[in-house]
Symmetry: C2
């Protein structure tokens, strides 16, 4: 199988052997935002390079299946079993690429929620253990998901990474941060996460706490080069407190979480999780490739 | 008295008659961020124009008293009575301008909070009524304050306006909003405020709800040109829910609020407050000028 995790800003391709193990991988800045005028065939050939002649079946997940992608693969509603996801693959008009659908659900206010790409990572991270798992995928739009057996039961998104990025680049908080990239301050991160997890206050309290990143620096209680870490702690800590409540409401114990994603970011989450009494284990590094393999198996597209 | 409300981006001057009424006013884009190399004398003369020859005493409030302003006027700690604020005026080295100090306090997590300029508006908005008042000043960094007698008892800040602005200009939510400025959608605003006020969830839930502004549009449940109003409702509604909890914790009834600030923004807050069962009355339009007058009276700088 040639598996492709094709996102908004970049794309990563995996060559999987007959046992489903990653034999080779490559990456290119060819996310769907970078592809001009629907030139997806060219982008794929450029990403694959000398693999382009490989007759192995090709399966992609991620934003490539969105309305702005190659062909739209309509969302599968939660609860979303592996089998359903595998039967809803879309094929590009040339037949050369199968695309995994995204998954959607509704929250308690009946507001829709969506993922594209993460469903494949979740299905790849699942163990054969029969217990329900709480899986967290940190990122621009972090996901918390409950999976049981081989089914994504439900999930919820947090704009944590994007809020951090826009505040750092464009707000009064960012303007207080020195231009030179400082060393990571574990203490400022921990304080932010702790301040975020004070119990019993409404969601809008986050709007107050963000202002605290400014005033703590103004009062020299954190250094200017600690503002980014305090802010990161505040946002990640807020996400964890909300995710924990969400998990409780959805009837799953939040005492252990499986983290899936880039290791530096997962390390930050693991620290904040452990500081708030939640165990964190790391999921497989190549969760997307494993998920693509499992979906391809179920879909019967492997030879 | 010549009173000046001198902020970060703009400055407004008032000429007050012997009864303390505003006889005339003028405004210029001469906020402290616009003043180069400490040229505050020139900026003041430019703002005052032909009033520059007026021998009346001059009193300013706002960011002009910050570390980045003309001369730093150290914060007065809460509870901050009018009398204390009036005895802590700082004078510029040429003696020509007195500056009102900002006010600070600490929240339940002992994180500092600050205001500069709003203390003067609050002192100007106070009625002689002996009851404690809950005063809300919507804006870039909204303030909720409790005042009793002529004392600012405590207050709290929310980054509501700034978060709205950076998300609209720089996030995925902003990129979904059509460039042409649409008509105000009262329905989208109300839905955002309602979604924000669902009870019993942690502050981080706001990070989830912000993502809903995207998914609702993706599912055609709000129109692309309603995203900004939904987002505005979500943020203002979140602030109100948090402010109400804050007021309750601080022992003041939150059934009526006095709004002070720009009328279009105060109208939005009034709608959201009333929709969540809180009465809203408008404070005086010229609260800053009234506050400067009261402070000048107490300070004995009027002739």
């Amino acid at each position: 199988l040639v598996g492709i995790d094709w996102g908004t800003t970049s794309a990563r391709a995996y060559r999987l052997d007959a046992a489903g193990d990653v034999a080779d991988e490559r990456q290119a800045p060819l996310g769907i935002q970078q592809v001009r005028e629907g030139a997806f065939v060219d982008a794929l050939n450029s990403l694959l390079g000398d693999w382009a002649d490989d007759p192995a079946p090709r399966l992609a997940c991620g934003m490539i299946g969105s309305r702005q992608g190659w062909i739209e693969a309509p969302y599968v509603e939660c609860p979303a079993p592996l089998d359903t996801v595998a039967t809803r693959l879309m094929r590009t008009s040339d037949g050369g690429l199968a695309i995994v659908p995204g998954v959607c659900c509704r929250d308690a206010q009946h507001v829709p929620d969506v993922m594209r790409g993460e469903e494949t990572q979740i299905l790849g991270a699942l163990t054969d253990d029969a217990h329900a798992m709480l899986i967290v995928l940190p990122g621009t739009h972090s996901k918390w998901a409950i999976a049981a057996g081989r089914t994504i039961v439900t999930f919820t998104s947090y704009m944590t990474g994007e809020i951090f990025a826009v505040l750092k680049a464009h707000s009064i908080l960012g303007r207080m941060i020195p231009a030179a990239s400082p060393a990571h301050s574990e203490a400022a991160f921990a304080r932010g996460a702790r301040d975020a997890s004070a119990p019993g206050v409404a969601p809008g309290a986050l709007l107050h706490r963000l202002f605290g990143a400014r005033t703590l620096a103004l009062f020299d209680e954190i250094a200017a080069d600690e503002i980014a870490d305090y802010l990161s702690g505040l946002l990640i800590g807020s996400e964890i407190a909300a995710g924990r409540e969400w998990a409780d409401r959805n009837g799953i114990a939040s005492n252990t979480v499986t983290l899936v994603g880039a290791s530096a970011l997962c390390d930050r989450y693991a620290t904040a999780l452990r500081n708030s009494g939640i165990g964190a284990t790391m999921g497989p590094r190549d969760a997307a490739a494993r998920g693509l393999w499992r979906i391809a198996q179920r879909a019967g597209i492997l030879r």
